[in-house]
């Protein structure tokens, strides 16, 4: 493997590492907001794999770029929904906490 080809894999490999890192963060972190951040790291890693492998000689494939842009927008939309759910849940917990004890969640 020559230097240039191995360097060609530099960004996708970084992306792979980010995916692993984010996954570890998602599993080991407890607070959902931090998990949300971890999910964003995973997403960034995936995009880097996709985009990084589309770098040819001198020209970068626009096709994965377009997919990545779509992916980034979807991911920000989901992050916003997640953040809103987390804050609303905290509000509800607080409201329930001031009124009475938080009812236990059903189901295993």
């Amino acid at each position: 493997m020559t230097i240039s080809t191995s360097l060609g894999h530099l960004f996708p490999l970084t992306g792979a590492a980010l995916v692993g890192l984010g996954l570890f963060g998602f599993i080991s972190l407890r607070h959902p907001l931090r998990q949300l951040l971890a999910v964003n790291v995973i997403g960034a890693g995936i995009f880097l794999i996709l985009g990084g492998l589309g770098r040819g000689e001198g020209v970068t494939d626009p096709y994965p770029q377009a997919l990545v842009i779509t992916g980034i927008v979807v991911s920000v939309a989901l992050t916003a929904v997640g953040a809103a759910m987390i804050t609303r849940l905290a509000e509800e917990r607080r409201a329930a906490g001031t009124a009475s004890d938080q009812p236990k969640d059903q189901g295993p």
Binding site: F26, I49, L50, M85, L89, Q106, P108
Partner: protein
């Protein structure tokens, strides 16, 4: 104009309209229902290999929409569910009736988003496009689940998010590897090398999480049981099916040449365990909606139990049809069951099975809807559920798969155990509770769905024929010649 586009465009247009109209948004369902049912009928009636490229941009770059058997069965079924749920929810999500007006307003655009998303998912062959449709459906699903319990909704959301990302990772690998993510092209080019196998693995894993196959089902029962009845109906009937259909497309179309039999048996084994575990859990539930939710866990198992049966069958067309019929029948029956359960629980203002005592007399129509749905879910004849399980059992016996056959039989019996329990309580004679008379229009929705699930049992040949349209080679087989054809 083609229903392939309109089936997606129309719900999205209704979503826009309901956002603009605001307070009166619920009225749109009256226009959407006939329109969508007509479009679904048009889809079914299209010539056998109807397909076209969006904007006429060629593959591998463009996106192919196709009316295959899967779409022709699932799109109409989905539409029926949405129509019934929409008409049922009319009352529950009207700005006047309740104080929770945020729900009353947002339920309708979310419904249309989910509708458009699932239709888009069934019609497209592009794996990245599927990612976007999954997100459309998941978003609406999460919001609906959160209407019941925010905590369960958040749990669902995070899990669904990771599931989507796993799927996206697979798509990214495939896009980089093959420069296309179209299933029909991948079917030609796919090779069993590391990136491909890894991609299939992570995509399948991500989708299994979303489809809640045992042991990845943990999020489903709390989310489905807590949501308002119309939302539960959509979550259990419609949402989980999309993930399944994508797995089906991946395993039998895009990567039919790559997937190993052992993997098929792994999925089949998980399905078998799901049937047993979900049924036993359902038997143990004290609350009606939890019971119905665990029944979803069990019933989803059948969908995956079918995988090895399809791949080993001398004539795969039959188990292939069986699994699609099961998906359709479960869709109709489960939606009916959740709606009927919602009516009954609301009437008695309780949530436990024991609260239903005497309801067979007080609410005969709702109990009938529940019972008809139970018949199809248990796989008793005549019903769509029976047709599906009959064909699966036939395939299992034909292949000498004693284990799968045994699971199919035991699963059916366990299903009867948990589904006849609420019915039995409802039939108990302890003084019928005083409840408001059933609103005929509201009970019509679950009743019609359940009756359809049962009626599917009479249309076996038609369903098999539909399911074989543009079926992937791995699932196609010569149907036995019929006299006079």
């Amino acid at each position: 104009m083609s229903p392939l586009d309109l089936l997606v465009a129309a719900p999205l247009a209704f979503m826009v309209a309901s956002l603009v109209v605001g307070r009166g948004g619920r009225w749109l369902i009256l226009a959407a229902s006939p329109a969508m049912l007509a479009l679904s009928a048009w889809l079914v009636a299209l010539p056998p290999d109807a397909a076209h490229l969006v904007g006429d941009w060629e593959l591998p770059l463009g996106i192919l929409l196709r009316a295959d058997g899967v779409a022709r069965l699932l799109v109409p079924a989905t539409s029926l569910c949405f129509v019934a749920v929409g008409l049922y929810a009319w009352h529950e999500f009207s700005p006047k009736s309740g104080r929770e007006t945020a729900r009353a307003h947002t339920f309708w655009p979310l419904l249309y988003l989910m509708w458009g998303g699932s239709n888009a998912g069934y019609l497209t062959t592009d794996l990245f496009n599927l990612y976007v449709t999954i997100e459309m459906v998941s978003l609406a699903a999460v919001a609906m689940a959160a209407m019941g319990s925010l905590a369960a909704g958040l749990q669902y959301f995070l899990i669904a998010l990771v599931g989507s990302l796993a799927y996206l990772l697979g798509v990214a690998l495939l896009a980089a590897h093959y420069d296309t993510v179209d299933a029909t092209l991948l079917a030609i080019h796919a090779r069993p090398d590391l990136p491909t196998l890894l991609a299939i693995t992570v995509m399948t894993a991500g989708l299994l999480v979303k489809t809640a196959l045992f042991p990845l089902h943990g999020w489903l029962p709390p989310a489905h049981a807590a949501a308002p009845a119309p939302a539960s109906a959509l979550l259990s009937a419609v949402v989980v099916k999309l993930g399944f259909v994508i797995i089906l497309r991946l395993w039998f179309e895009a990567f039919a040449e790559v997937v190993r039999p052992a993997a098929m048996h792994l999925l089949g084994g998980m399905g078998a365990l799901a049937i047993l575990y979900g049924s036993i859990q359902a038997i143990r539930q004290e609350r009606l909606k939890s019971l119905v939710a665990y029944s979803t866990v069990a019933q989803l198992g059948y969908l995956f139990l079918a995988f090895p049966l399809i791949s080993n069958a001398p004539n795969p067309a039959e188990p292939w049809a069986a699994v699609l019929v099961h998906a359709v029948a479960h869709m109709l029956a489960k939606a009916a069951m959740f709606l009927a359960a919602g009516l009954m629980l609301k009437a008695v203002a309780g949530e436990r099975i024991s609260d239903l005592a005497g309801l067979a007399r007080a609410m005969p129509l709702s109990v009938t809807a529940f019972a008809l749905a139970a018949i199809s879910l248990t796989g008793l004849p005549p019903s769509g559920g029976f047709t599906a399980k009959f064909l699966l059992l036939h395939a299992a016996i034909e292949q000498g798969s004693v284990v799968y056959a045994a699971v199919l039989v035991i699963g059916g019996l366990l299903g009867a155990v948990y589904l006849f329990r609420p019915l039995s309580v409802a039939c108990s004679g302890s003084a019928a509770p005083v409840v408001k008379a059933e609103a005929p229009l509201r009970v019509a929705a679950p009743l019609a769905l359940a009756a359809l699930a049962v009626a599917l049992g009479f249309a076996g040949m038609m369903l098999i024929e539909l399911s074989s349209l543009s079926a992937p080679p791995a699932a196609a087989g010569p149907l036995p010649a019929e006299p006079g054809r």
